[in-house]
């Protein structure tokens, strides 16, 4: 609705023969900086992604020169991460520990050192109730019960994904391949805490989507809450027995207990994107806890369950 009003305003304005022109624009503070993105979790080794902010007035993406990433715990250097060019990620060898605080620092020649800290959260378990509809042909309706401790603000991210395993046989060999596909966009829910892709919202079209499927315990602080959502399945897997080579097909629901920084980071990305083309709203600054730069250093712990929809044993 809001968009309709906005579009109507613009149309009404254009009746008065709007005209455009290019403005010579030189931002006052145009210094480049490092963007640091680090999601730490106790199940994986330390990791970070680095990039260089690109001034809006230049064409080229400048590269970081001699970048490096270090992890600190209790003020002491824990380890220096190594760059994995294939995955474009900086990886460590150690895993973070739950309830411990870590600092991630990143360096590059000619740019200010950036850093951010986060504390690793413990996972929050949930109970996955029996799906009310369990058919691989269309969608699955989930009910997930989360028990909130009520002691502090908790933030979560729902991370549903599909796991498929294929087998390829030749005359002499058999090879297997596995894929994990995140399908956040396939989630539909009328649940108020998720506020995502509800039918009403589609009709009203007046608020940002919850693309990252994040939620806070604001509406169920200290209570047990049953979250309801459905997950539509890809059409090409609707008859798994007919898919050549498919031997296993599972749907996984990962509930990530995410830090506040991550929650705000994802939330503001979503909202910035929604309002970006609306010149009449105040632009949304993306949350960052990275000093001298941008990005986020956050953490999550996950709890995972899966439902097997097809298993050709």
């Amino acid at each position: 609705m809001y968009k309709k009003i906005f579009i109507f305003t613009l149309l009404a304005s254009s009746l008065f023969s709007a005209c455009r022109k290019t403005i010579e624009f030189e931002p006052e503070n145009n210094e480049d900086f490092i963007i640091l993105f680090s999601e730490l979790n106790p199940d994986s080794t330390f990791r970070a992604k680095l990039s260089r902010a690109k001034s809006i007035v230049v064409y080229e993406n400048q590269k970081l020169i001699n970048p490096k990433v270090e992890i600190y715990a209790d003020g002491q250097l824990l380890e220096q991460l190594t760059y994995n060019a294939t995955r474009e990620i900086w990886l460590g060898t150690q895993k973070p520990e739950i309830n411990k605080e870590y600092e991630v620092r990143a360096y590059a020649d000619g740019l200010k050192t950036v850093s951010g800290t986060t504390t690793i959260l413990p996972p929050v378990k949930y109970t996955l109730l029996t799906p009310t509809t369990l058919t691989p042909k269309a969608y699955i309706e989930w009910e997930m019960t989360i028990k909130d401790n009520g002691e502090e603000e908790n933030y979560f991210q729902l991370n549903p994904y599909l796991y498929t395993k294929y087998e390829e046989k030749t005359a002499t060999t058999t090879t297997y391949s596995e894929t994990i596909s995140r399908y956040l966009k396939r989630v539909k829910s009328e649940d108020p805490v998720l506020s995502h892709n509800s039918t009403e919202k589609e009709f009203l079209d007046d608020s940002p989507e919850n693309d990252y499927l994040i939620l806070s315990d604001e509406l169920f602080n200290g209570k047990t809450y049953t979250l309801k959502y459905s997950f539509s399945l890809p059409y090409h897997l609707s008859q798994p027995e007919k898919v050549p080579g498919l031997i296993k097909y599972t749907v996984n629901t990962e509930l990530r207990h995410i830090s506040r920084e991550l929650y705000l980071y994802y939330k503001t990305i979503n909202i910035q994107d929604f309002y970006y083309e609306n010149p009449f709203t105040e632009p949304v600054q993306i949350f960052s806890n990275v000093k001298n730069g941008a990005g986020v250093v956050g953490s999550y712990s996950s709890y995972n369950t899966s439902i097997t929809l097809f298993d050709k044993k």
């Binding site: 023969s17 290019t22 403005i23 503070n29």
Partner: protein, 779 residues
């Protein structure tokens, strides 16, 4: 010795008090129409002791018994002098005749009220001035004329928003016949709801607020509707490019009962209708209806009933067929105000005047959306949504004017307002075939609130040079289980340096119990008024002003004012929050912060002669600070405008031709623009440019738009016809077609032969040169 001195003083006092005093009182009216003249002067010629009429044209002047000459004057009217033997209380009603323009007669040697009044930061604009200045598309507009005054800004191009002394558009108390108007905009702010044909007088208070006003931080716009001609029937109609309007007034019973009715409607929708396809059509229009009736029971008692009804309506219809399917979508949106005031004036005696008012005000916004999908003639899907929101006030007000002697003019009264806030009622029906899938209704924070206030103010003289207006405004607001109170002292002071120069100072404390929630920097009908809560406290402000007024010659004044305003408990949306969506209440989505504004305003005005108008200049700063916005640092408010110049002039060559011109210049608005692009993870988890990108903004409002300036010209050709006066008005808005910024946006520019791109800043301007012509006939 001490006892003797005391006796001497007591004796002197007794002599003073024993001197007989008499009071003259009455109404000052326009001789042609019988309309009351507001702020007309009544003074004793020898001593210059005098008073001004109140909002109903009533005055009361108490003087020692003697034989003296009393002058009755009003700008634009021929003054009257009366030799009076003051031996008993007298009722003297005076009817003043409008001056011919050529007449420039000096009324005694008393300085203008602008110099002598204790009030500062107030501007009165005669409605004729508003009507004679060039106007956008020929639509004379009260609010847009106010924007031409120093200390007042318009916001964006063409907007009817008011930003007074660094305050927000929600901090203005817009009163139409004493009734608050909550949304004063038509067509998203391009026009205001105040039809000049229905209006008699406009006063703007930017500071030095008298104690009788309260409830908003930054300004009071007091608009009074015409009462109706008590003598004869008169009317006026005009036909312009976008609207037509008419006004008709006259006596129902001569010199006893009169009415005034005005109506206006735009007709772009009617003109466009024949050119629209039957399967795809839409339209927009707005209308206003003002009506007032007043009746004199006797010399002491008079009643007024005034009403305003206005609305904007937008609607669309589209029908789309594909294969055997058929979609029909309908939408309509309307919003508008209804205000009513029932007022009773009663003169208890020569010194005590009372005004009792009952008012009703409602602003409603409604949206209806309806979508149907048919297969052949079978209804497959049907969903519709109705959304309404409103704010409704019912108020009772009791005001008294008490004039104990010429050195004191005391006003006191009380006010009660019942507010009903209904910020959003949504009803969604969804049907699949003939089966109702669901029907939901959600009501957001439906609130009822009670606001009470009482005030007392005394405008008094301490000797010939010093005059003060001291007042106190007390208020209380009850909503849910919260009760807020406020003690707001008000003070204005004037010191006459000479009979042409006065120094002035003022202090006001204000408190505001309602907030305007707006997602946008332009005025949208979806903007919601909401009351304070336990969490979101009332906004407060304190304003100090000092200044001087110099009367260059009669009717020509120069004023200079400096002001400093501090505001607390201002609200702004949290980063990334919006009113729509989500399930948290609005109070969880806002930040509470502070604001400061300060500056200097200069105004040179000329009110008499063939050429009249003003030149204004403002140098000002406006800042905001919120703990969680802009990293907690102070930032310039969006409408922080360093320099603001306005020139508004009219010149009458003769009875047949007059011209008007306005020129405005303002520093560009501040806005936040992106400086860098940064990578962000996409929802699929990818972290590459192109897959997930976001904008990095430096500090809030880190960029200035180019300065705004514009020249408007207008010319009126009048001709006396058999039954009245015909006028052709030709106006040119933005005469030199300046491309003023309306908004800015970035556009992607690709390097040829590569996929590399950068952003270019583009400016959108709304109005190039816009000529218009209006025909009007006054009879």
């Amino acid at each position: 010795m001490k006892i003797k001195l005391l006796l001497f003083f007591v004796l002197c006092s007794t002599i003073t008090f024993a001197q007989k005093k008499v009071t003259i009182s009455g109404y000052i009216t326009d001789a042609n129409t019988g309309e009351a003249l507001i702020n007309a002067s009544v003074f004793e010629v020898n001593t210059y002791r005098g008073v001004t009429t109140n909002n109903y044209g009533f005055y009361s002047l108490t003087l020692p018994a003697s034989q003296t000459t009393i002058a009755f004057s009003y700008v634009g009217y021929r003054a009257k002098y009366r030799e009076i033997i003051l031996n008993e209380n007298k009722r003297i009603d005076i009817a003043l005749n409008p001056k011919q323009l050529e007449e420039v007669k000096v009324v005694a040697k008393r300085a203008d009220d602008k110099v002598t009044s204790s009030q500062m930061s107030k501007v009165d604009i005669p409605i004729e001035k508003i009507q004679n200045l060039p106007a956008f598309l020929g639509e004379a507009d009260v609010i847009k004329t106010l924007q031409l005054l120093p200390g007042v800004q318009s916001g964006t191009e063409g907007s009817s928003g008011l930003y007074v002394r660094g305050g927000g558009p929600d901090q203005n108390l817009l009163l139409l016949d004493g009734v608050p108007v909550y949304n004063a905009n038509h067509l998203f702010g391009f026009f205001s709801v105040f039809n000049p044909n229905a209006i008699k007088n406009v006063s703007l208070y930017k500071g030095g607020f008298p104690a009788r006003f309260g409830g908003r931080l930054s300004s009071v716009v007091d608009i009074r509707m015409k009462e109706g001609n008590m003598k004869e029937y008169h009317g006026k109609f005009s036909v312009g490019l976008i609207s037509s309007n008419f006004n008709f007034e006259g006596p129902i019973a001569k010199d006893k009962t009169a009415f005034n009715i005005s109506a206006r409607r735009t007709y772009a929708d009617l003109l466009a209708r024949p050119f629209m396809k039957s399967k795809e059509r839409g339209g927009f229009y707005f209308y206003d209806l003002n009506a007032k009736i007043n009746h004199k029971f006797n010399d002491r008692s008079r009643i007024y009933l005034s009403a305003y009804l206005g609305s904007d309506v937008a609607h669309t219809y589209s029908e789309e067929a594909y294969n055997s399917y058929n979609d029909i979508d309908k939408s309509n949106m309307n919003w508008g105000n209804t205000t009513t005031a029932l007022r009773w004036n009663y003169i208890f005696n020569e010194k005590l005047f009372s005004n009792t008012t009952l008012t009703y005000s409602k602003y409603t916004f409604k949206v209806g959306l309806d979508e149907k999908e048919y297969k052949l003639k079978d209804l497959l899907k049907h969903q519709n949504l109705d959304y309404t929101s409103h704010i409704e006030d019912i108020a009772y007000k009791q005001d008294f004017d008490y004039f104990p002697n010429p050195n004191h003019a005391i006003k006191f009264g009380l006010n009660y307002i019942y507010h009903h806030f209904k910020p959003g009622v949504k009803t969604l029906n969804k049907k699949d075939g003939n089966t109702t899938e669901f029907e939901t209704q959600s009501v957001d924070d439906n609130k009822k609130a009670h606001e009470v206030s009482a005030y007392i103010e005394d405008d008094f003289s301490l000797g010939a040079r010093l005059k003060m207006n001291l007042g106190l405004h007390l208020s209380g607001f009850n909503v849910d289980k919260s009760f807020y109170t406020s003690i707001e002292p008000r003070a204005s002071l004037r010191y006459m340096l000479s009979n042409k120069v006065s120094l002035k100072a003022a202090y006001s404390k204000m408190q505001q119990y309602i907030h305007l929630l707006s997602n946008s920097t332009i005025s949208l009908p979806t903007d919601l008024w909401l009351p304070v809560t336990k969490k979101v406290k009332p906004m407060k402000s304190e304003q100090f002003a000092v200044g001087a007024v110099y009367q260059i010659q009669k009717g020509v004044n120069f004023s200079l004012e400096g002001f400093y305003k501090k505001m607390d408990n201002l609200i702004a949306y949290k980063e990334g929050a919006s009113f729509f969506g989500g399930n948290r209440s609005w109070e969880d989505k806002v930040e509470i912060g502070k604001g400061w504004s300060y500056g200097v305003e200069a105004l040179l005005s000329k009110e008499v002669g063939k050429t009249t108008g003003w030149i204004g200049y403002t140098l000002s700063w406006a800042d905001r600070q919120f703990e969680n916005l802009n990293f907690g640092e102070k930032f310039p408010a969006r409408y922080d405008r360093r320099h603001d110049i306005s020139i508004a002039l009219t010149h009458k060559f003769n009875k047949r031709i007059d011209i008007g011109a306005t020129w405005v210049y303002g520093t560009g608005n501040a806005l936040t623009v992106s400086t860098h692009i940064m990578r962000t993870p996409s929802a699929s988890g990818s972290f590459k440019y192109g897959s997930g990108e976001a904008n990095f903004y430096g500090k809030r409002n880190n960029y200035r738009m180019s300065p705004y300036h514009r020249l408007d010209l207008g010319i009126n050709f009048h001709k006396q016809k058999k039954h009245g006066i015909r006028t052709w008005n030709i106006s040119i808005y933005n005469a030199y077609s300046r491309q003023n910024p309306f908004f800015l946006y970035f556009e992607e520019q690709y390097k040829s032969g590569t996929h590399q791109s950068r952003k270019q800043l583009k400016q959108v301007s709304l109005f190039p040169i816009v000529p218009s012509i209006t025909y009007s006939y006054k009879f």
